[in-house]
Structure formats: structure tokens, C-alpha cells
């Protein structure tokens, strides 16, 4: 279980966009810059929302396999895990059914329930539906998925509280997630309390660089000097 941040620390993280977060994490040298983020197959379905920050509640889900007699959906375990998770929570479902891109993991009723219990977003490598209903019933709730599919299929929660992999990103239960229109990352525990400050420094440096690029001083030679090429 990850270290739980204070409300102020969480608020500071919400002020930094996810792309800047990856730069800040890279500066703190805690993992290779080629790791720690989901691939472009994972789509942000509410790109207009500010960054989502929260603790992962993980599960596997299956909606594309035919119903198996006796197999029971672990809904209760899921809702208890959300209840017991530090807040804000983010519900993460990895598809383990027969067909990931025909699976349906979340709809508006489920999301409204998650939201009521303190979740601010959901993530799946499969499909979701009811985007308009989610916007109306759980305003501000973020959704990352491979895309939208209309049918619910035979949807069940298989296991709760396990480590999952979403479009190349490994997510452990309780891990801190950060995501916006640019994509989704995990925030390493060791630097979770200092990364926002580093993010502010990155933003400030980039702002100065862009001001130089747009200024009359700009030339490739000067850019090379400043960049140390």
C-alpha cells in the first residue's frame, strides 16, 4: 500500500499536467524514462477534465466470455475494496475475457456507485459505455479505456486487489495514479511528496524557454547555446 498524501499534497499534484509529471519524475531519477506510463492504446475519454489523481483499486473483469455456471461476480469484494481504499480512489479493471476490444468493463450506473464511494476515475484496457450518462450522473469523473462499446456482454468482476497490467503499465493495488488528456502514469511512492514541486520547476523552465523561442532573440545558434548542444 502506497504512502497516503495529505489533501494539500494531492491538490498540488492535481495542478500539474501528466506530461509535466513524467518530466518531473524523470528528473528525480527513480525509474527509466521509458517506463511508468500506459501506451497510446489507452485513451482518455474525458480530455477536458483537469488531471485525475488517486489510489488504485485493482481488479480483473470479464464480459466477453459466455456465462459460466457457478462463477460468481466479486462485486461485493470490489465495493468493499473501494470503501477501504485511501481516497480519492481510482478503479482499475484489466480485461481477462476472451476479447479485450469487445469487452465492456464500466457503465454509468457502476461509475455513479464508484463516485458515490469516493472514486474520481476508472481505468481499463477494455471497453466502457454510457459516456453521456457518466458525464451527467458523475460530473468530473475521469475515464481511461481502449474505447467505447455499446453492449454490456456478460459482465463480471473476477478478482479484486491483484497487480494488473494496463496497456504496458503495471499497476499495483494502492498505487498512486495520475492522468489527463496526455495519458496515464503511476507516481512512484518514494518521490510522491516532492514531485509536485519539481513539476512546478519544470513548468517554469519550459515557460522561459518558450518565451525565448517566441522572442526576437531566437535563432538556432542561440537555441543550441542555451540547450548545450
Amino acid at each position: 500500500m502506497a504512502r497516503v498524501l495529505t489533501p494539500d499534497q494531492l491538490e498540488a499534484l492535481r495542478k500539474i499536467d501528466t506530461a509535466t509529471m513524467t518530466n518531473a519524475i524523470d528528473h528525480l531519477n527513480v525509474r527509466p524514462p521509458t517506463a511508468g506510463f500506459a501506451s497510446l492504446e489507452l485513451q482518455c475519454l474525458m480530455p477536458e477534465l483537469p488531471p485525475m489523481v488517486g489510489y488504485a483499486v485493482t481488479a480483473t473483469g470479464d464480459s466477453s466470455s459466455p456465462a459460466i455456471p457457478g462463477r460468481k461476480s466479486q462485486d461485493r469484494a470490489l465495493y468493499e475494496a473501494i470503501r477501504d481504499s485511501p481516497k480519492p480512489a481510482i478503479v482499475v479493471f484489466q480485461n481477462i475475457g476472451t476479447d479485450r476490444i469487445r469487452s465492456n468493463q464500466f457503465g454509468d450506473i457502476m461509475v455513479t456507485t464508484f463516485n458515490r464511494m469516493g472514486a474520481v476515475g476508472a481505468v481499463t484496457d477494455g471497453g466502457i459505455r454510457d459516456l453521456a450518462g457518466m458525464r451527467r450522473r458523475a460530473p468530473g469523473f475521469q475515464m481511461f479505456a481502449a474505447g467505447a462499446v455499446p453492449s454490456a456482454g456478460v459482465s463480471i468482476v473476477v478478482e479484486v486487489g491483484i497487480t494488473v497490467s494496463i496497456c504496458g503499465l503495471t499497476i499495483r493495488p494502492g498505487e498512486l495514479l495520475h492522468g489527463d488528456a496526455n495519458g496515464l502514469i503511476t507516481v512512484p511512492d518514494d518521490i510522491a511528496d516532492e514531485v509536485a514541486a519539481e513539476g512546478e520547476r519544470v513548468l517554469e523552465k519550459e515557460q522561459k524557454k518558450v518565451e525565448f523561442i517566441m522572442s526576437d532573440e531566437f535563432s538556432l545558434e542561440r537555441l543550441a547555446e542555451i540547450s548545450g548542444w
Binding site: 499536467d17 506530461a19 513524467t22 524523470d26 524514462p33 496526455n182 523561442i213
Partner: protein, 227 residues
């Protein structure tokens, strides 16, 4: 690219006022290439579908940010110099050499630099990011990509000025690119100065046809004989 004249600004402006499907029809109508070629597949996403058509000359390169590396990667100075030296407007084309689902080729700072040097857009089979900041810092800059990915990775420039293939579209340095919400195509340089006129007569014919289809005189037998 030296074999054909660079289009005049007003000719480029005309092409930018016509949507990409109509430009594609116009290229087909001139019989210069097979109609099943010359455009990127639906895997290439237009990130800003609200923008007007992008028109520009390709500056191409290969690039990789997804392969882990120990030291620093190769910087982008050669690419920037090529953009500076090229006829404008430029479209920068990045062919991903690593894992295209996890590779990043354009963010807001680089878009600011290439935009300042005269680029109007980017094309890549890998990822881009900073979708809000690019729009704010380089207004009108278009991005075509496999998708959006957040990790900057370990960037390293490959070769500059080579022919590349982006989702089934071969792009050579100096090729004229045209793209909008409908996708991306190349306009063959030998006929580039005739495409806008051909497109306008297609737009006129399509308008007449749609007017007829929506009119009270519409009938299938009329459609086949008169249209």
C-alpha cells in the same frame, strides 16, 4: 523536390481552403496515381479535427524514445536546421524506430521550436502529447499521430531527410502533404499546381448533385441518367 517549382503562397492558400477528401478526389481525377494509394490508413489520427486543412512540404526523419538507453540520445539540431533551410510551410514527419505505441515524437516545447522555424504541423506513426499546451502555445499547429502518449521516454533522433512510410503512406523529403480531420495524403508535385482547380470543379459538381438529390425532382432514374 528540385524538379518541381515551389507553389506560390496563393496556390498553397487555395489548397488549404479545400478539404482533404476533395483534394484526394482531385488528385485521382488527374489520373496521376492509383486511387488506392497516396493516403495514410485510418490508424493515423488527426489530433485537432477542428483546424482547417494543413498544407506543407515534408521534412522527414526517424526517431525513437521508447528504447531504454544508458546515455543521452542524439539531439534534434540537424532536424531543426533542415526545417530552417526548407521551403515553407513545413510539415515535420517522424517515423518511429522503437515501439510506436510507447514512443513520443512531439510535445509543446518542440512544437514551439519547429513552429517558430516555419512548421505548420507534425505527422508520426508514434505518439504526441501536450495536446492543450500545443494548441495554446502554437495556435493552428496540426498533429497527426498514432495516438496520445504521456511519457517523454529517452528521445534520440535517427536519420534526417530520408523516405519513410507512415501507416501505408510513403513520404519523401519535400513531398507536399495535405491533411485535415479526414486524414492525410500526398499531393504529387508534378500536378500540384493543377489540383486546386480540379478540386473546385469537383466541389461544383458535388454541390449540383446534392442539390438535385435534395430537390423535389429527385428520382432514381433521373439520378442515373442526369447525374
Amino acid at each position: 523536390m528540385n524538379d518541381h517549382p515551389v507553389l506560390r503562397p496563393e496556390q498553397l492558400g487555395e489548397l488549404a481552403s479545400i478539404d482533404s477528401p476533395t483534394v484526394n478526389n482531385a488528385v485521382d481525377s488527374l489520373g496521376f496515381r492509383d486511387p488506392t494509394e497516396g493516403f495514410a490508413s485510418s490508424e493515423l489520427r488527426c489530433i485537432y479535427p477542428d483546424l482547417p486543412p494543413m498544407v506543407g512540404y515534408a521534412i522527414t526523419c526517424t526517431d525513437d524514445s521508447s528504447t531504454p538507453r544508458a546515455g543521452p540520445g542524439r539531439g534534434y539540431q540537424e532536424l531543426y536546421e533542415a526545417i530552417q533551410a526548407a521551403p515553407k510551410p513545413v510539415v515535420v514527419v517522424f517515423k518511429c524506430l522503437g515501439d510506436p505505441r510507447r514512443s513520443l515524437h512531439m510535445g509543446d516545447v518542440m512544437a514551439s521550436i519547429v513552429g517558430r522555424l516555419g512548421a505548420v504541423g507534425v505527422v508520426t506513426d508514434g505518439g504526441v502529447r501536450d495536446v492543450a499546451a500545443v494548441r495554446e502555445r502554437v495556435p493552428g499547429f496540426q498533429m497527426f499521430a498514432g495516438g496520445i502518449v504521456v511519457g517523454g521516454g529517452a528521445p534520440s533522433l535517427g536519420d534526417v531527410g530520408i523516405s519513410v512510410s507512415i501507416f501505408g503512406l510513403t513520404i519523401s523529403p519535400g513531398d507536399l502533404l495535405h491533411g485535415d480531420a479526414n486524414g492525410l495524403l500526398t499531393i504529387p508535385l508534378p500536378i500540384a499546381d493543377r489540383v486546386a482547380e480540379a478540386a473546385k470543379s469537383i466541389q461544383q459538381r458535388e454541390k449540383e448533385r446534392v442539390d438535385f438529390v435534395r430537390s423535389d425532382g429527385f428520382a432514381i432514374d433521373q439520378l442515373t441518367s442526369a447525374h
